[in-house]
């Protein structure tokens, strides 16, 4: 084989770094992809532990948590909030859900809602009894008791609802989640489509990661948008062909194994006594809270 001359020459030493830097979007893309993947891994790991919630049938687990979620959604008083809070803490403890796992999933929503709700504290948004007054120029702005209640209620409710969903995710392996959904009155083709979408997301993310990594490994970037776009354009054709082929192949693989448009599933084993107990308990909480509403 005749190698061109330039290919035979190796660069003697590192050239001094000058104006060469990794484009921000690649770094950020890779970080986002990596964090999503890590997130899924952590969830899967936690779901594999032993604990109370993990012992329930996935269908019952989903349904029960839904009862608690709806109970949280309808409650409007302190007793309701406090009792559900206790239930959440108890369930997390009994299901060996780590505090850090839980906080990691709840914190973003907490902070987000917390910031969003701040203006509602002020008298200009929520008039009422001032509990703290600040003078800005000649204007008097205060934090009101009513504002505090409004903001507090929303913040507590959102946090608790997010915690409940996090509890479900942290105690249920992804496969069980889909199995559970299939056992609930959700059309089978929707569950299959949902699962396939879930798979595709990871395949696509991995492809995107590879492309971004490949780009990183060859980066000599002067921050020109035109270069970046050219690079994107060149990758598009490749990606389009590959993903199309993959999707067509999957469709063929399904047909090959007898799929004709309607997924036929297997009945699941019946639920056990503990599952019924759990459902009874959670629905009891739900009805009690409904009564207090």
């Amino acid at each position: 084989m005749n190698l061109p001359e330039w290919l035979k020459v190796s660069v003697p030493a590192l050239t001094p770094e000058r104006g060469v830097k990794e484009p921000g979007f690649i770094k950020k893309n890779l970080e986002e992809i990596a964090s999503l993947m890590r997130w899924m891994m952590d969830t899967e790991e936690s779901a594999g532990r032993r604990g109370l919630l993990q012992t329930f049938d996935p269908r019952a687990r989903i349904l029960g948590i839904l009862f608690l979620v709806v109970a949280t959604a309808v409650t409007g008083n302190t007793i309701g909030f406090v009792s559900i809070m206790i239930i959440i803490l108890l369930l997390s403890y009994l299901s060996s859900v780590g505090i850090t796992d839980m906080v990691g999933r709840v914190l973003p929503s907490f902070v987000f809602t917390g910031v969003m709700v701040l203006p509602a504290l002020l008298s200009i948004v929520t008039p009422g009894t001032h509990i703290l007054t600040i003078m800005i120029g000649t204007k008097e702005i205060g934090i009101t008791y009513e504002g505090l209640r409004t903001a507090g209620t929303l913040l507590v409710r959102v946090t608790m609802m997010v915690s409940l969903v996090a509890l479900l995710l942290l105690t249920t392996r992804q496969a069980d989640l889909f199995t559970g959904l299939r056992g609930l009155p959700v059309p089978a083709f929707l569950v299959t489509a949902l699962f396939m979408a879930f798979r595709y997301i990871f395949i696509l993310l991995r492809m995107a990661e590879d492309v971004n990594l490949a780009r990183r490994s060859r980066t000599i970037d002067h921050g020109l948008l035109r270069d970046t776009q050219g690079w994107f354009a060149s990758r598009i054709a490749f990606f389009v062909e590959r993903s199309m082929k993959m999707a067509e192949d999957i469709s063929m693989a399904m047909c090959s194994r007898g799929f004709t448009g309607e997924i036929k599933g297997m009945d699941m084993d019946g639920m056990k006594r503990r599952d019924y107990l759990w459902l009874g308990g959670t629905s009891f909480v739900f009805f009690i809270i409904l009564g207090l509403y």
Binding site: R173, Q174, A175, D176, F178, T179, F195, M196, R199, F202, I203, M246, D249, I250, M252, A253, M254, C255, S256, R257, G258, F259, T260, I263, K264, G265, M266, D267
Partner: protein, 270 residues
């Protein structure tokens, strides 16, 4: 007399403007083990997809079990029979595995074909035992190693108990141990009158497991169809169709041209 499984007469297929298979004549009988041999892009996968009724000839006729396979024809009762009798192991296990767990994966085929649930459970359990997959029962297939994926993909086809097995490059990307396992499995199944049609360019597979070779060239035509042993001995033919290649080879100080393929040892070496 053995039963005829496939009869292809003048079958061509093109993807839009691009031809992938030209004027193929082929007869496959029950119990045969056939290698579809050809370089990359010669049309092996296309041929298998035609044989599995996933795509249909743009020209020529394809008969399966004596009945024409066309888009209109392949429906209802014939479709169910067809799918029950023919299994296709795809090249990429990732493509073939789309269920949430290994168990779901193995039971998918028989359930779609309306086998009774108890029978499905028994088959799945038997196969998991045979292939040592019990510990993976509830694992999502996409988290498995590539060898395990291949096993699951194969098992998911075997649960239907097809008479005809179409396999697309089954040894690709397998480590030697899994490869040996696969050879043993195919060998065992051959004993029960199963028909194998295997697309590959793995010559050791061809040599060990098949008795007939259908050779495709890069113009997407069948250039040879005959006994495995005869075709593998025809070095010129294999060179011409890009199945084997020659490259310079260094032994100590001696550099010589050396072809890679079966029966091509170092005998011309002084």
């Amino acid at each position: 007399m053995t039963r005829e499984i496939y009869r292809l007469e003048g079958v061509s297929y093109s993807y839009g403007r691009y031809p992938a298979l030209r004027d193929v004549d082929l007869v496959v009988e029950e119990g045969e083990s056939i290698a579809i041999l050809g370089a990359n892009g010669s049309g092996k996968s296309t041929l298998l997809k035609l044989l599995d009724g996933l795509i249909f000839p743009t020209e020529g006729t394809l008969l399966a079990f004596g009945r024409p396979v066309t888009e209109e024809n392949l429906s209802g009762g014939f479709l169910a029979e067809f799918r029950k009798r023919i299994g296709f192991v795809f090249h990429e296990p990732d493509v073939q595995l789309f269920c949430p767990t290994v168990f779901d994966e193995l039971s998918f085929g028989p359930l779609q074909l309306d086998l009774p649930v108890e029978e499905v459970k028994k088959r799945v359990s038997d196969l998991m035992g045979m292939l040592g997959l019990h510990s993976l029962r509830d694992r999502p297939p996409y988290t498995l190693s590539s060898g395990e994926k291949k096993k699951v993909a194969l098992a998911s086809v075997l649960t239907v108990n097809p008479d005809v097995l179409l396999m697309d490059e089954p040894t690709n990307g397998l480590d030697p141990r899994t490869q040996v396992w696969l050879f043993e499995l195919i060998e065992a199944l051959r004993g029960f009158n199963k028909t194998f049609i295997i697309a590959t360019h793995d010559l050791s597979l061809v040599e060990d497991l098949t008795d007939r070779v259908v050779l495709l060239d890069e113009a997407h035509r069948v250039v040879a169809d005959g006994d495995t042993v005869d075709i593998l001995r025809d070095k010129d033919l294999l060179l011409r169709t890009n199945i084997i290649h020659e490259h310079p080879h260094r032994h100590g100080d001696v550099v010589h041209i050396h072809s890679h393929g079966p029966y091509a040892g170092h005998d011309e070496h002084e």
